[in-house]
Amino acid sequence: MGHVILETTKLTKRYGKRIIAVDSVSLTVRRGEVYGFLGPNGAGKTTTLRMLLGLIRPTSGTASVLGRAPGSPQSLARVGALVESPAFYPYLSGRDNMRVIARYAGVPKKRIEDALEQVDLTDRARDKFATYSLGMKQRLGVAATLLKDPELLILDEPTNGLDPAGMADMRALIRRLGSGERTVLLSSHLLGEVEQICDRVGVISKGRLIAESTVEELRGGASLLVAAKPLDRARERAEQLLGPEHVKVLDGTLRLDADPASAGRINRELVGANVEVTELRPIERTLEEVFLEMTDQKGESNVG
């Protein structure tokens, strides 16, 4: 496990007395991992990222990015960031936009072609940014983050607005960029995206970090689904075996918090109690189920 590359301690941003955009967020990102920063729209993800880049000053709390203060030239020199939508000069070509960014960043001109090639934009680099599709704009945004060959990539909702093929391409690109030593902090409201790409996840809701762990830990262990008749007798027997707290009835089936390896024994016990078992299989909770449980926002979630 890599050492800590980014850390916040009780990071808070208030606007006036009533609005708390980010509330005492303490998160840790380790070198080499792809860290998913997951939360619904308006949860405080972008505000947190802006604080990590020095664009917004925290009201209280501290943050350290690559061992330096957020927004300091020393930390920014090693960070590539795409915050919200990619922002470039519409009257400049893709390549000229990259030249502008390269000059600000103080990186040699030769890096421009490398970065454009990595996102497959070389052929359209002469065209004006204003003529780019959303997918191309996003890719140019990623290319700009790569100019510094950064140790840490901060990507804020990079698949926003892309069609399914564009999203798949972008995810593949992020996975590629996150391989090896480079660290990626990926903010997203898309659970599937985080599940596919990220090693660890921080879940933020209403400005508060409510969980931080690996995707597997967050989902919890597997459970067993049992379809049986009569259901009441099956439930009674299962509760005797596992304890009432480990048995739930959901959609006419039983959900048992039990190791899938014990499926054969449970089947024998149910049959022995004159229960007809028609289905018995292991199931894993999705990140979405876990997320909705944690944030208690079934039916009103912006998370997809």
Binding site: R50, P73, L76, P90, Y91, R99, R103, Y104, G106, K148
Partner: protein, 273 residues
């Protein structure tokens, strides 16, 4: 900061609006200093009036002709240049892109100001150069002797013209940082240059002692007085003899510094959302 300066120069150089503003400034300068007077000369009813009009277009009047419009119309264009160069960074969201590269905020800001200073100098030099070409063409065409201002006078004229336009440009920069946009700063700035100062000078100053004193501290009035001290005729809109050239220079320098400091403070202290 040099790298940021070259980035700012690339942005200004490639931006069509920069060239449009330059062309408009050149066109207005040519039309009202040379084309209209020359047409007046050709159609003048008496010889004395014709000679006076022709004399006004000669190379010896290059300085007042070139900077005569700076307190008003060229000033409004310079303010627009300052406002769009900063305001569009907010509109396009590119401020966050700039500020997440490497340099500190004030370093990026200083590079931007330096690039604008170079652009404004280029505008002033272009107006002088085209004016020199046109006035010498008229003189040659009319078989008149060509007398150029001295090098020292020319340098003072160019420096004064640059100071006037830079002050207005910095007002545009400051308003754009304060209002974090482009449209409102341009609207307010242009209304101030073309309207409010005129009302204070021509209406309020005649009625109120306070306004009469106040006008001596206005940027437009001081710009007009600086032009006047370099030979600008008080019949030119915006040109006046309210204060002397030294005071006008000092007041404009003070305004330029104040505008630059307020703009830098706004960028440094506020969140980029």
């Amino acid at each position: 900061m040099l790298a940021s300066f070259s980035a700012e120069m690339l942005k200004l150089y490639k931006r069509p609006a920069t060239w449009v503003l330059l062309l408009v400034a050149l066109a207005l300068s040519q039309v009202f200093n040379y084309l209209v007077p020359y047409a007046g000369y050709l159609t003048a009813e008496n010889e004395r009036a014709a000679e006076q009009i022709l004399a006004s277009t000669m190379p010896e009047n290059l300085i007042p002709n070139s900077i005569g419009g700076f307190p008003l119309f060229a000033g409004a264009l310079a303010l627009t240049l300052g406002a769009i160069s900063v305001g569009s960074e907010y509109g396009w969201g590119t401020l966050k892109t700039m500020l997440t590269q490497r340099p500190r905020r004030l370093s990026v800001y200083a590079a931007g100001l330096l690039a604008l200073a170079v652009a404004v100098l280029a505008i002033v030099l272009s107006i002088f150069a085209l004016g020199a070409l046109t006035s010498s063409a008229i003189a040659l065409g009319q078989s008149e002797a060509i007398h150029w201002p001295s090098t020292a006078e020319l340098a003072r004229g160019i420096a004064s013209g640059w100071l006037i336009l830079m002050t207005w440009c910095l007002l545009g920069v400051m308003l754009a940082f304060v209002f974090r946009g482009m449209a409102l700063p341009i609207g307010l700035g242009v209304v101030w240059i073309l309207g409010v100062e005129n009302l204070i000078v021509n209406v309020a100053a005649a009625l109120l002692d306070f306004a009469d004193t106040l006008q001596k501290a206005l940027p437009g009035v001081n710009a007009g007085s600086l032009v006047s001290s370099l030979g600008g005729g008080s019949d030119t809109p915006g040109v006046n003899t309210t204060v002397d050239g030294t005071q006008a220079t000092l007041v404009l320098v003070a305004y330029a510094i104040v505008f630059a400091v307020i703009a830098g403070f706004a960028l440094q202290r506020r969140d980029v959302t």
